[in-house]
Amino acid sequence: MDFNNNIPIYIQVIDDIKMNIIKGNLSLGTKLPSGRDLALQYKINPNTASRIYKELEMDEICFTKRGLGTYVTEDKNKLLEMKADMSKQLIEDFIMGMKNLGFIKEEVIGILEKKY
């Protein structure tokens, strides 16, 4: 994975994991790699990897079975919620970008209809 070094690494990996869950590359209830393996997989610091799992757990995207490891949530609603959050972010960025370029709503809708 290519990182943007201006943004904290843990945020980027969290987004990547969320994306993989949304896309179905990581299905609900799947066991995730251990912290150390996650670090090796993304070539990141092991302490950053544990922080990633801590944050994902706090957001209830993952949960830990004591002694067994970390798993993707089994809650389908959580997945939909994540999808909604991420799409909201994308749309807001897009609208902001188009506004900055001087497009008005009707023009944007026109472009979308042509391109989508």
Binding site: N5, I9, K43
Partner: protein, 228 residues
């Protein structure tokens, strides 16, 4: 775990380290950053016990640098430290004689992973392979603190990645790693903490993610800001 208090190292003509105070905690990966001549190697050599500070104190687990600390700290110098006649296997034996914590099995694994061959002669190794050999020998010690001085210097990009992965694999919970480099880019993702040294003084020390978050900049950008 390691504490430097107002450490100074003066040579006749210049002051290499000019009053550095810092603490290194267990289980973390640190980057010791700064351009050539900023004092990184001098500081590492003092921690390794190879040279003595002119002033100030360095303690490891509460004790001054000495026999105990040397047994727990594995230092990899920038220079090559093996003789030309040695094979890769000989380097392992040589290390084993010096360090009781040297793990032969681990050395074999590392040698293999680094695409080295036990029968290779040290003198016939390319600079990249020689650098890998130094790292294999150093990481094969079961030390608490590893200090790697410029492990990525003059090494091609594929080999660098190979070395970084090996370092990450060695970074077990109770192991602490300090990597000095002026190649900040390569270390960006793997470090917890960054230590910036400028003209022998501590310029900045901090958690890498916190620095990125508070400054909105990469460690590379911060490096440029400090040294440009």
């Amino acid at each position: 775990m390691l504490e430097c208090k107002n450490v100074v190292k003066k040579y006749i003509a210049k002051t290499a380290v000019n009053g550095i105070s810092l603490e290194i905690d267990s289980g973390r990966i640190y980057a010791l950053l700064g351009p050539n001549g900023s004092g990184k190697t001098t500081l590492m050599k003092m921690v390794a016990g190879l040279i003595k500070p002119t002033n100030g104190s360095i303690t490891y687990q509460g004790l001054p640098i000495g026999v105990e600390s040397k047994a727990a700290i594995a230092y990899m110098p920038t220079e090559t430290f093996f003789y030309n006649y040695m094979t890769v296997r000989d380097v392992g034996r040589y290390y084993k004689d010096f360090f009781p914590d040297f793990n032969e099995k681990r050395y074999e694994d590392l040698v293999q992973r680094m695409d080295l061959n036990m029968k290779d002669k040290a003198k016939s190794l390319s600079s990249g392979l020689a650098a890998k050999l130094k790292i294999a020998a150093t990481l094969a010690r079961d030390a608490e603190l590893y200090m790697l001085d410029e492990p990525l210097n003059g090494i091609d990009i594929i080999t660098r990645e190979n070395i970084i992965t090996t370092i990450l694999e060695s970074a077990k919970e109770n192991k602490t790693i300090v990597i000095s480099s002026h190649l900040v880019d390569e270390l960006e993702k793997i470090i917890d903490h960054a230590i910036f040294i400028k003209n022998g003084s501590l310029e900045l020390i901090g958690d890498a993610e916190d620095l990125r978050e508070t400054k909105g900049k990469s460690i590379v950008e911060i490096y440029k800001e400090i040294y440009a």
